[in-house]
């Protein structure tokens, strides 16, 4: 990846809902520069290219990957496309930051991880919550609590995806809600505990509409090898639709950490009622991009390919547990997918 510029040339693939967060982070970091946009939808690709200073755009991934100024790639396409796209990036010898989940099944996630191991390039799954202020504060606070025993992490909202055509609502494309959003929480509690997840017991609910094919409310209970239990709730099914709340509770051998829904935000009461005004702290996407660029530069990666594979396995275990009503062993999910 010899290049005249000192900065990393980044290609963004897939300019849907989340891409703007990544392009803003790229623009804000002097170590990176946006060098192109790829999207299957030519109109959308062109519009995103124009909005980002007229960078080159394409609907052809292979053509874009062949351009010499592309050092690295951010992929934010629908989840079921991750495996083929990521493997193509590895084979082109580029580094990759890829939206979660790494893939919609363990076999796909493993295929990606293996391709990057072979290519000797950096692969980072975008478990962005590790980069949020609250998650870093909890990670730091855990040092005072000793061995963690019980953790609660709830991310609750009433915002459902736009309408029935949203790919996230289609489990064939998103992998289901445990894969799409659940992996954020499953990865975070695993990172917080630093322990190996053994079992997942999950309960799901189709709260917004009985006709949903995904569970807009998920409750996933993770049992860790060291004995700790983590209860993760991920909701898009709460009411009112404007509801947004996060809650963290950690019980450790030396005490308890609480970060309740009203601990961080200001509370605003106006003509439409009472709501939260989140603090303007660090930008998680910028922190994440920085961690990725650090890893490309040779630093220890904040999120590894193994973290991505494990999170996918936990998500698959959660979906299966909802279907069977029984706890599912993470090892069973990993084993049956082959090594």
């Amino acid at each position: 990846m010899e290049h005249h510029s000192a900065s990393v040339g980044v290609l963004v693939v897939g300019v849907g809902f989340i891409a703007e967060q990544h392009t803003a982070a790229i623009h804000a970091d002097p170590r990176a520069r946006l060098v192109g946009i790829v999207d299957l939808d030519a109109g959308r690709a062109a519009a995103a290219a124009r909005a980002n200073g007229g960078v080159p755009w394409s609907t052809d991934l292979a053509e874009a990957l062949a351009r010499p100024e592309v050092d690295a790639v951010v992929v934010c396409t629908p989840n079921h496309t991750h495996a083929p796209i990521a493997v193509a990036v590895a084979e082109a010898g580029r580094h990759l930051l890829i939206e979660k989940p790494l893939a919609t099944d363990v076999a796909g996630a493993r295929r990606i991880a293996a391709a990057f191991a072979d290519a000797g390039r950096v692969l980072m799954p975008a478990h962005t919550h590790r980069c949020y202020d609250y998650a870093r504060a909890v990670k730091e606070g855990l040092g005072d609590l000793g061995r963690p025993e019980f953790l609660r992490l709830a991310i609750l909202g009433g915002w459902i995806w736009p309408d029935w055509r949203a790919w996230v609502l289609d489990p064939a494309r998103s992998g289901g809600h445990a894969l799409h959003n659940g992996v954020h929480l499953l990865d975070l509690v695993t990172w917080w505990t630093g322990d190996r997840p053994e079992t997942v017991y999950a309960r799901g609910r189709k709260q917004t509409a009985a006709e949903l094919d995904i569970y807009d409310y998920l409750e996933m209970t993770v049992g860790f090898a060291g004995g700790a239990t983590a209860l993760c709730e991920m909701s898009r099914g709460h009411r009112p639709a404007t509801y947004a709340a996060r809650d963290v509770l950690v019980v450790g051998e030396h005490g308890v950490l609480t970060l309740p829904w009203d601990a961080e935000a200001s509370i605003v009461t106006d003509e439409s009622g009472t709501g939260l005004l989140p603090p303007a702290g660090a930008n998680g996407f910028a922190v994440q991009l920085g961690a990725w660029l650090d890893a490309i530069g040779g630093a220890e990666p904040l999120m590894t390919p193994g973290d991505g594979v494990l999170a996918v396995a936990m998500g698959v275990a959660a979906e299966r547990s909802i279907a069977t009503g029984e706890p599912v062993r993470v090892d069973d999910v990993l084993t049956e997918a082959g090594v």
Partner: protein
Amino acid sequence: MTRVLLAGFGGLGGGQDHQRAMYLPAFQAHPGFTVVGAVGADDLGVPSYPDLATALADDPAEVVSVCLPPDQRATAIVTALRAGRHVLADKPLALTAEEAAAAAAAAAESGTVCMPAHHQRFAPAVRSARAAVAAGRVGLPWNVQADFLVAGGDPCPLGELTNLGLYPIDVVAALVGQPVRRVHARASGDVTLLLLDHDRGLTSTISVGRISGTADLRPGGLAVHRYRISGSNGVMNVDATKPGATLRTSTGVRSAWTGPDTVALMLTELHAAITGGRPAEVGPADALAAIRVVEAARRSLEAGRPVPLSPDSQEGRQ
């Protein structure tokens, strides 16, 4: 004045004596009750009796406050009820569902009040939440998340699932009123997690346990006691450690409860039920329901998987 006989001064092992620590002072402070006798204590300035049968024969008390050790408790409750007395029963009212069912049957026959001391459901924030849920404030409830974490104090030899578990199980039952059908439990360190499936697809999850003491609380104080009720039309976040003022001085931090405590509020309901000739807001059926959940949780902990509640012989009666 309603006359009270204090029967027994034991608890779940160790130094636990809720009679002396909680009920006696609350009865003394309540304007509607007067303590007239005791079984098992002769230092209270009231007539002392060697056993419950003697006391029931001689003593004019309308209410028996039963705090005998758990292995004698259910029998004593049935005896007092059959003697036509009202009963306040320390929790757990019984150690097994079978015993609790016997107490419930005796109460149904006697027509007197039998109140298990599930006093946490009388916490002011819980009482108002219960009324608001019942009034439809959040629509049809579909999930409850609860934390009941006591900081420090003496561990219970029978385990905190038996000792503390009944409280949040009972509060959840009071909040949503849907029977539990299936239980999954997982123990981790000091905390037990209960994942309950109720009727109507409602789910609830309770963390309960005795965690490390914390510098800001007296030993045995509630570090976290809260309920989140999610419904079809809204969410209610209930912090049952409210209402409280916070006092911060150069020597420390403490909370000051702003109203009557939960035991006082429970006795007010006991008195109202007795004088009104009606069942109390919490009765032996509630004790039985909570004990059955604890029993199922124990089976789930052993099995490592969810278990159905045991078949309910009381089903037709509740």
